[in-house]
Subunit: 138 residues, 4 copies
């Protein structure tokens, strides 16, 4: 398997990403972008679903997930002036938001394939973020 | 003073923003966008400062502040399916990020007017967010 | 009227914002952030409207407007290495997106106050962006 | 090769992504997120490079690329109310921004591996976006 571009950029950073586990860092960054995309696409798909009135909470949680995941991915992609007292709360917010989105989408998973896919992606994203959070908290 | 557009939209939301204090909600949303803009502009100004090598941590904290503040502003602007267990951590991350940005910028305030202005804005933003966070935590 | 923080930061930028009209620059930046907020809040309000099935295009145009306006505001907030061949297309995309959002929201303005407010804001935003675009194109 | 989550979500969208070429759509979405991540990481890496004063234009072009690519990825991820008069200018802005970032980074490619990687990624991103733009323009 070829290395991801994210991992290659981690590996050639001038100062390095401190003592952070690079494999978990790479996994969290990629999972956050994948979750952001899935949540954006699912929010759009829900707009066209027949049960839109029952899915407003789900749609809102997708919009939050997309925004928070993208921001966490950018914060994690930076190594300069690393400060766990910033990275920690940002990852905690991302984990909570992705977990809620996963939960909301899972409620509609049997009816809508796009919700099932988004639930899977956000739950995997939350898991990768929680593992990274353990590293950050040391 | 005319009402802000943010406040007018809060006041005509179909379901309302729950029991949240609308004045503090408006203040937090506006302060978050103002902080995001100031941090974006200050990051750019720092690029041209003579002391760039001493200011890398400051620049990075501005980029984080812009991203996290914007995301928190969007989460706060949504009322559907309000969940304090999401809004809380998102606001906590924003407060921490803005406080650090304010602190980093304040270190250069006597030398660079743009850092002084950004420090003021981010500290006011953090204060508005902390007040909103007290409301959310109930 | 006190000067906006955006204008104060424009005025103390180390290299200046080139020969760009500062008043129009300030107006465009502030209008873009206001449009981004209004479109975010209106997308959420629409979720709760009774006519959601007729308003899916409107909701989607609000999400696009929020994303594109925010990005254009950030690009405009930077002066370093200014390049009209980048700023131009970014502003053109923002103007088109805000105009469409204004048009979609205006169709529901008589029924929903939040759509009326969003239509006004996005149209004013598009106007400020078009004026800035004339400056950029020289 | 397993299908990307982006492609799986395209394939199960309730209304479909119109007559757009799904393979090119998937390629453009993934390339835009990869470019956004690479540009974010490279901007951070540049902060630590010794030649920072010569690289301010490069750093600024990375920040623009990250913002514009992310926004274009979100607009492309939506199918509801598809309008080529919006998608077109958004993709045109993304292509121009990624091309400039690729060019700026390529100037430092022999000195900095992170710039070489970012140049490659942004150029591949621009190419995928141009191919999608041809489809959108029909």
């Amino acid at each position: 398997m070829p290395q991801s571009m994210a991992r290659q950029l981690i590996d050639c950073h001038p100062t390095g990403y401190h003592t952070l586990d690079r494999k978990k860092l790479e996994a969290a960054i990629l999972a956050l972008y994948e979750s952001a995309q899935a949540a954006t696409a699912n929010a759009d798909a829900i707009l066209n679903a027949n049960l839109i009135r029952d899915m407003t909470d789900c749609l809102r949680s997708c919009l939050d997930a997309a925004d928070v995941a993208e921001t966490a991915a950018k914060v994690l992609s930076r190594a300069t002036g690393y400060d766990p007292s910033i990275t920690g709360p940002v990852l905690a917010a991302a984990a909570a938001t992705l977990e809620r989105c996963g939960e909301e989408c899972a409620r509609h998973a049997s009816m809508h394939m796009h919700c099932r896919l988004c639930a899977e992606t956000c739950r995997a994203g939350a898991k990768a973020v929680r593992e990274m959070l353990d590293v950050v908290k040391g």
